[in-house]
C-alpha cells in the first residue's frame, strides 16, 4: 500500500499494447455488426415500404429485440453460437437493426409523393425509382439511423467482453471488479471517445449535400469493411488449451497474475463473464476456467478443481461473524451458531449450492434437509425473548447459511429472528453490521483479509501458507478494529480455483495447477 498511486496516464502507457488491441477489437466488433446490420436492415426496411402490412410486425420485432437487456441477449446466444466474436456480433447486430430498419422505412415513406409520382410518370421502373429517387432522398434519414446504431454498438460492444469477444469492456469490467479506477477509465474513456468520434463523423456525412453524399455513400462499404477488419488484426496466439477468466481474476495477484508469476503458466486466455463461463467450459469452448470451489455449477457441469499446490489462492473459509455487543446481548447465540462449525465440507457445500442453483430448491428447504440429515434440526420454540438480526450477501450459498442459522436459533433458543438477506456485496453487508443494522452474517477469511482489512501484500504472502494463520490474523484484527468476533469456521473453503472438465482432466492426467503447466509446456 505504500507504493505510489499510479496515475491514469501511467496505467494507459503501461497497458498500451492491451489498450490498442482492445480498441481495435472494439472498433472491429462495432463495424462488423454494423455492416451486417446495414446489409440486413436496409433491404428489410425497403421491403416493408412495399409491403406495408408487414411493417408493424417487423418494426415490432426489431423493437422488442432492442428492449432485451444486453447481458440477457448475450446469454441467449451462448447455447446457439458459443462464446467469442460470433455471439457478440449477432447480439450487436440485433441491437443495430431497429434504428436502421426504422429510419430506412420512415426515410423512404417520407419522400415527397409528388416526386415519386413524377419519377414513375417519366417512365422509371421500380428499381430506378428506388435507387435514383427514394434512396438518395431518404439517405439523410437512413444515415441518422446508422449513426444511432453506431453509437449504440460502441456502447453495447463493451459488454462483448462478458462472452470473451474482447473490446474495451475487458478494462471496464475488470476495473469494476477490482475496484481499480484507472482500469475502468482506461476502458471507458476510449469507448466514450469512439462513440463521440463516430457520431461526429457520421453527422458530418449527414450534412453533406446530395452531390457529395453520392460519393461518400459509395465509399461507405469499403470503409466499413476496413474498420471491421480491425477485429482480426490482434489475432490470438494458439495454445493447446484455452482458458477463460473473469475480468476480476485477470487482474488479481491471487488470480491470473499469480498464475503467471508463481506457476509460470502460459495459456491462451480470454476474458469472460462469470455468468457464462461455466457453461462455456461444459460446452468445450473453454478448457480451464477460474471459479469458486464451492460453486454449485461445478457439480452441474461436471467440472473438477485443480489443486493449488503452490498456494497462490488465499483461503476463503466461511465462518459467522458477530458483533461483540450482540454476543453480550444474546448469551445463547455463540453456542448456537457454533453448532454448524466443521459440519460442511467443500463437496457438501457444492452439493447444497447445486440444489438451490440448479435444482431450484428453496434455500430454506435445502437448509432444513441438511440440518435434519445431521440431526441438528429442532422444531421452532416460538420464543420472543429478543430478536437476532441475520444478514447475508446476495448469492445462494449465503442464503442457505442464513436459513440454517435462523432454524438453529429458533430451535435451540428463545430468541426470534429477523433476516436481512441479499445485502449486495461485501461492503454493503459489512457496513450494515458496523452500523448496528444486523448482528451476524457469514463471512470468508479471504474477504476479511483482503477486501475488508485491506491487508498489505507482504503480510498476505506470509499468511497464505496455512488456513489457520489467516483465520487467526483476521480474528485478531477484527476484534481490535471493529469489535467483531469470528466464530468457528463452518468447514468449507470457497476460494478461487482453477477448474477443468472432469473427463478432460482425467484424460490428460491433470490434478494440480503444476500438472497443467507441465502439460502446456510439453510439446
Amino acid at each position: 500500500m505504500n507504493e505510489h498511486q499510479q496515475t491514469l496516464w501511467e496505467f494507459m502507457q503501461q497497458q498500451a499494447d492491451k489498450l490498442g488491441v482492445q480498441t481495435m477489437q472494439h472498433i472491429g466488433l462495432t463495424f462488423i455488426s454494423l455492416f451486417i446490420a446495414v446489409l440486413v436492415g436496409l433491404p428489410l426496411g425497403i421491403y416493408i415500404t412495399r409491403k406495408k402490412q408487414l411493417s408493424g410486425i417487423v418494426l415490432g420485432i426489431a423493437g422488442i429485440l432492442q428492449t432485451i437487456p444486453s447481458i440477457a441477449l448475450l446469454g441467449f446466444m451462448i447455447p446457439v453460437l458459443g462464446i467469442g466474436a460470433k455471439p457478440a456480433i449477432v447480439a450487436l447486430l440485433l441491437y443495430a437493426l431497429l434504428p436502421i430498419i426504422r429510419n430506412t422505412y420512415t426515410g423512404i415513406t417520407g419522400v415527397d409523393a409528388s416526386v415519386k409520382e413524377a419519377a414513375v410518370a417519366m417512365g422509371m421502373n421500380k428499381w430506378q425509382v428506388l435507387f435514383k429517387v427514394e434512396l438518395p432522398l431518404a439517405m439523410p434519414v437512413i444515415l441518422a439511423g446508422i449513426r444511432t446504431a453506431t453509437v449504440i454498438n460502441v456502447g453495447v460492444a463493451t459488454l462483448a467482453s462478458y462472452i470473451a469477444a474482447g473490446g474495451l469492456g475487458e478494462f471496464i469490467f475488470g476495473g469494476i471488479s477490482l475496484n481499480n479506477t484507472n482500469m475502468i477509465l482506461a476502458g471507458a474513456i476510449p469507448a466514450a471517445a469512439l462513440a463521440i468520434l463516430f457520431d461526429f463523423l457520421l453527422s458530418r456525412l449527414q450534412r453533406l449535400n446530395f452531390k457529395k453524399i453520392k460519393g461518400a455513400v459509395k465509399m461507405a462499404p469499403v470503409l466499413l469493411i476496413l474498420l471491421s477488419g480491425l477485429y482480426f488484426i490482434p489475432s490470438a496466439y494458439g495454445s493447446k488449451l484455452t482458458a477463460g477468466f473473469t475480468p476480476e481474476f485477470m487482474g488479481r495477484q491471487d488470480g491470473n497474475l499469480g498464475l503467471i508469476s508463481k506457476y509460470g503458466l502460459k495459456i491462451h486466455t480470454i476474458v469472460i463473464n462469470d455468468a457464462v463461463m461455466y457453461k462455456a467450459a461444459q460446452e468445450k469452448e473453454l478448457d480451464v476456467i477460474s471459479g469458486y470451489s464451492t460453486d454449485g455449477r461445478l457439480k452441474a457441469y461436471n467440472l473438477v478443481v485443480l489443486d493449488d499446490d503452490k498456494k497462490i489462492f488465499p483461503p476463503y473459509y466461511a465462518a459467522p461473524i458477530v458483533r461483540e455487543d450482540a454476543l453480550r446481548k444474546f448469551p445463547e447465540l455463540e453456542k448456537t451458531l457454533n453448532l454448524l462449525a466443521g459440519t460442511i465440507t467443500d463437496s457438501v457445500m457444492t452439493e447444497l449450492n447445486y440444489k438451490t442453483d440448479y435444482l431450484h430448491q428453496t434455500p430454506e428447504r435445502v437448509a432444513k434437509d441438511f440440518l435434519v440429515s445431521k440431526k441438528l434440526y429442532k422444531p421452532e420454540r416460538g420464543g420472543h425473548e429478543a430478536v437476532v438480526r441475520i444478514g447475508s450477501k446476495i448469492f445462494g450459498e449465503q442464503y442457505i447459511l442464513a436459513s440454517m442459522y435462523t432454524m438453529l436459533i429458533k430451535g435451540y433458543t428463545n430468541y426470534d429472528v429477523a433476516t436481512k438477506t441479499g445485502l449486495g456485496g461485501t461492503k454493503i453487508v459489512f457496513d450494515a453490521m458496523t452500523n448496528d443494522q444486523i448482528d451476524v452474517y457469514p463471512e470468508y477469511t479471504g474477504t476479511g483479509l483482503l477486501a475488508i482489512l485491506q491487508t498489505p501484500t507482504q503480510t498476505v504472502t506470509k499468511l497464505q501458507v496455512s488456513k489457520d494463520s489467516t483465520y487467526n490474523y483476521v480474528q485478531a484484527e477484527f476484534k481490535k478494529r471493529y469489535q467483531i468476533k469470528w466464530l468457528k469456521p463452518i468447514g468449507f473453503n470457497n476460494a478461487y480455483a482453477l477448474m477443468m472438465r472432469e473427463q478432460q482432466a482425467k484424460e490428460l492426467n491433470i490434478k494440480t495447477i503444476s500438472n497443467l503447466k507441465r502439460y502446456l509446456d510439453s510439446k
Binding site: 409528388s114 409520382e117 410518370a121 417512365g123 422509371m124 429517387v133
Partner: protein, 321 residues
C-alpha cells in the same frame, strides 16, 4: 389520337370516374374542367397508367395503352404536375435530362436539347447547375414543363400545371404557353378547376361533375349552348369576362365603324379577343386603337365606346340566330 371509352374507376365506395368516354384529336388542347373531387386527376392518371382503371379502354394512335409496358408508354408521354415534382437532389440540368437518360441519349444530344428548351422557355443557362429549391415557383414550373417536353413526346398530360402560381405569373405563363410552337404540335390534356384558365387555353373543354362528363365542346359551345343548368350555373359568375375572352375582334368586325383616325403607332390583330383590346385600352389610356385584319389587310381605328357598342350588337344578333 387519344380515344377513351367507358372508363370506370372506383376507390372503395367512391366512384371517382364513372363511365367516361371522349376523344382528343391530334394537336388539340383538351381541358378537363370541374370542381374539386370530380375525378379529373384520376382520369388523367389513367392515361399514363399511374392509375389502372377498373374497366374501359384507352387507345393512343389506335393502340391500346395496356398492350405495352407501362414504363415505355410513360417515356412517350410528357407529364406536368401541379407542384412540379422536381427531384430536389438533382440540379436543373439533371432534372431535365431524366427522360433522355432513361432513353439513353448521348450527352451532346441531351445538352443541345436542354439549351434549346431553356431558350424557348426564357430561362437563363445560369440556372442549369442550381437545385430546384433555389428557384422561384414560376421558374420551377417552367423547368417542370421543360422536363416533360425534353424528349418531344407527342402527348402531354398536365395536372393543374399553373395552380400554384400567383395570378400575374400565371397569365404571363399562359401567354408563353400559347405562343410556344413546341406545344402547338402536341396533343395536350390539361386538368384545371380554373374556368378562366380553361377558356384561355382550351381548344375544347370537358366539363366534369361527380365522375361524369357533363358537356364536352369548344369554349363557345359551353358558353352559348350549355347542355344543361349545371353548365350555365358553372359559368354564370364569370360569364361576361369569358365572353370577352372567347369573342374575337374579327367576330364583331362587321359591327365596328371605321373612324379613319389611324394612330399608326401599334396595331392589334383582329384575331385577338375583346378582352385583349380592353386591356390595351386600360394600359395605354389612349382614345383609339388600330386593329388589323390580316386576311383583308383592312385596318380600323376604334374607340372604347365603339368596341362596346359592337360587342352588344353582336350579342343581340347572336341571340336571334
Amino acid at each position: 389520337m387519344i380515344k377513351v371509352e367507358r372508363l370506370i374507376k372506383t376507390f372503395g365506395t367512391t366512384k371517382a370516374v364513372d363511365g367516361i368516354s371522349f376523344e382528343v384529336n391530334e394537336g388539340e388542347n383538351m381541358v378537363l374542367l370541374g370542381t374539386s373531387g370530380c375525378g379529373k386527376t384520376t382520369t388523367l392518371k389513367m392515361l399514363n397508367r399511374l392509375i389502372e382503371p377498373d374497366s374501359g379502354t384507352i387507345a393512343i394512335n389506335g393502340k391500346n395503352i395496356h398492350d405495352q409496358p407501362a414504363e415505355l408508354l410513360r417515356r412517350g408521354i410528357g407529364y406536368v404536375l401541379q407542384n412540379n415534382g422536381l427531384f430536389p437532389h438533382y440540379t436543373v440540368a439533371e432534372n431535365i435530362a431524366i427522360v433522355p437518360n432513361l432513353l439513353k441519349w448521348d450527352k451532346a444530344k441531351t445538352q443541345k436539347r436542354i439549351d434549346e428548351l431553356l431558350e424557348k422557355l426564357h430561362l437563363s443557362k445560369d440556372y442549369l447547375n442550381t437545385y430546384p429549391n433555389e428557384l422561384s415557383g414560376g421558374q420551377q414550373q417552367r423547368i417542370g414543363l421543360a422536363r416533360a417536353l425534353v424528349a418531344d413526346p407527342p402527348v402531354l398530360l398536365m395536372d393543374e400545371p399553373f395552380g400554384a402560381l400567383d395570378n400575374v405569373t400565371r397569365s404571363k405563363i399562359h401567354a408563353e404557353f400559347l405562343a410556344l410552337d413546341e406545344l402547338k404540335r402536341k396533343t395536350i390534356i390539361m386538368v384545371t378547376h380554373d374556368v378562366q384558365e380553361a377558356f384561355e387555353l382550351a381548344d375544347r373543354i370537358a366539363l366534369m361533375d361527380k365522375g361524369k362528363i357533363v358537356q364536352i365542346g369548344t369554349p363557345a359551345d359551353l358558353l352559348f349552348k350549355p347542355a344543361n343548368d349545371f353548365v350555365s350555373d358553372f359559368l354564370k359568375e364569370q360569364h361576361l369576362q369569358l365572353e370577352f375572352k372567347i369573342i374575337k375582334l374579327i367576330d364583331i368586325w362587321e359591327h365596328l365603324p371605321d373612324t379613319g383616325k389611324k394612330t399608326n403607332t401599334s396595331q392589334l390583330s383582329a384575331k385577338a379577343g375583346i378582352w385583349e383590346a380592353l386591356e390595351t385600352f386600360k394600359f395605354s389610356s389612349r382614345e383609339s386603337l388600330d386593329i388589323f385584319d390580316e386576311k383583308s389587310k383592312e385596318v380600323k381605328g376604334i374607340t372604347f365606346d365603339q368596341l362596346m357598342a359592337a360587342f352588344s350588337k353582336y350579342k343581340t344578333h347572336k341571340a336571334h340566330e
